[in-house]
Structures are given as C-alpha cells and as structure tokens.
C-alpha cells in the first residue's frame, strides 16, 4: 500500500529529506519505522520518538491503511 512519510527536525536532518512516498507491506507504524531505520541507520539513535497518523497522535501498534500520511517525530523540546 502507498504511504506518505514525513520527517521532522532531527529526523529530517538524519534522513536528509522532509518527506517521501513509500510502497510498503508494513502493517503498523512500528513496522514502517523499522523499514525507515533500515534505509536511514541514523534514526536508530532516537528511541523515544513519537508518531502521528493523518495529523492525530498515534501509538506504535497503529494499523496502517492505504493513503495514510505518517509523521515521525523526534523527542520534543518545547519551551
């Protein structure tokens, strides 16, 4: 299925891209991130990351659907 992935802040710098379309068999956000780590090993350094799907915060067992937009967030640091 087709998923649009977006990377933010340190993730964007680690991957070198802000977003990419992927064609994947990953069933969950966790599986999708595992694929990203295979492509961009630098992502491995961020264990406590957050994920959102279609602009809603999600967890790592969230089931993906064709056409989803998945946002990978490095640890936040507001304020």
């Amino acid at each position: 299925m087709k998923i649009e992935i977006r990377y933010f802040a340190a993730f964007r710098e680690a991957t070198g891209i802000a977003s990419e379309p992927v064609d994947t068999q990953a069933e969950t956000t966790a599986a999708l991130f595992a694929e990203c780590i295979d492509r961009y090993p630098a992502l491995r350094n961020y264990s406590a990351s957050l994920v959102a799907v279609n602009d809603e915060m999600a967890d790592w067992e969230h089931a993906l659907a064709n056409g989803d937009e998945v946002l990978f967030f490095p640890p936040v640091a507001g304020g």
Binding site: F8, A10, Y46, A48, L50, M57, A77, G78, G79
Partner: protein, 147 residues
C-alpha cells in the same frame, strides 16, 4: 487561547486579555532564551513547530488547566523560528480568584506544553556547532532538562 507565532510576542497584550474583575491573582510564566546549556555557550535558538498538531494539543492543555485548576482566564503563546538571547520563547498567563490555583495551573500548563507539543529546539553554539536539544540526552545525563 493557544497560539504559535513567528513574530515577537506582545507581552502587554497577553496580560490585558486576561484582566478580569473576578480574579485576585495572576501568574505569568516566560521562557527566555538563555546564554548557556549543559556547559555550552548558546548564541541563539531555533524552534521548529508542527503547527496543526501543536495548536490542537496546546489548546487541549489550556482546557485541561481550566477544568482541573479552576483558572478563570488563560492564554499561552509559543514562538517558532529563530530567537536571540533574552527573547521570549513561550509565555503562559493564568488568572484566577485565588493565587494557589493561578500558580498551580500556570505550572501545569508550561510543564505539559514542554512535554506534549510537537516542537523541537535547535541550539546554536559559540563554537559554530548547532544541535537539536534532545530529551534522551537529558535522561542519559541524569537530570531534567528544564527551561
């Protein structure tokens, strides 16, 4: 109301929005850009904000504070983009009939804003380097990474 802005924050406007004859106490928190962090000399900060989620989650935090602490009036604004030393990165204003609620509610809001909003901070150092402030790093260093 919660807002994100790339412009300097109008502090007097925040306060005057909250003035209320039913309130005897007002607590304002400001996060200032500090010249050092973990032994490094900081020259400026850069905030990246994912606005659609940040605004929604920020508003949710303000609503929680009103409900849980009995605040009468509340507002918060967070900057995005590049900030210089002593710039205000975030402001929280909380007005309530009594001061206990205003202190506790204001503290709750800034604690939650810092940990729940999709906002990332990059520090630019005197040595020419720049680094994303990373709460993992703080955890490893064994101390809280407070403003």
């Amino acid at each position: 109301m919660f807002r994100i802005t790339s412009q300097p924050i109008d502090l007097a406007a925040v306060r005057s929005q909250l003035l209320d004859t039913g309130c005897g106490a007002y607590v304002q928190f400001e996060g200032w850009v500090r010249d050092h962090n973990e032994g490094q000399q900081v020259l400026r900060l850069e905030y990246e904000v994912y606005e659609p989620l940040a605004i929604r989650e920020g508003q949710r935090i303000l609503d929680e504070a009103i409900q849980c602490f009995g605040l009468r009036k509340v507002t918060a604004i967070h900057r995005s983009g590049m900030l210089e030393l002593t710039d205000v990165a975030v402001i929280v204003g909380a007005a309530s009939p009594h001061r206990g609620e205003a202190f506790d509610g204001c503290r709750y809001i800034i604690d939650q804003l810092k940990s729940r909003l999709p906002i990332w901070k990059k520090e630019h150092y005197a040595n020419g380097m720049a680094e994303w402030v990373n709460c993992q790093r703080c955890a490893e260093a064994g101390h809280q990474h407070e403003q």
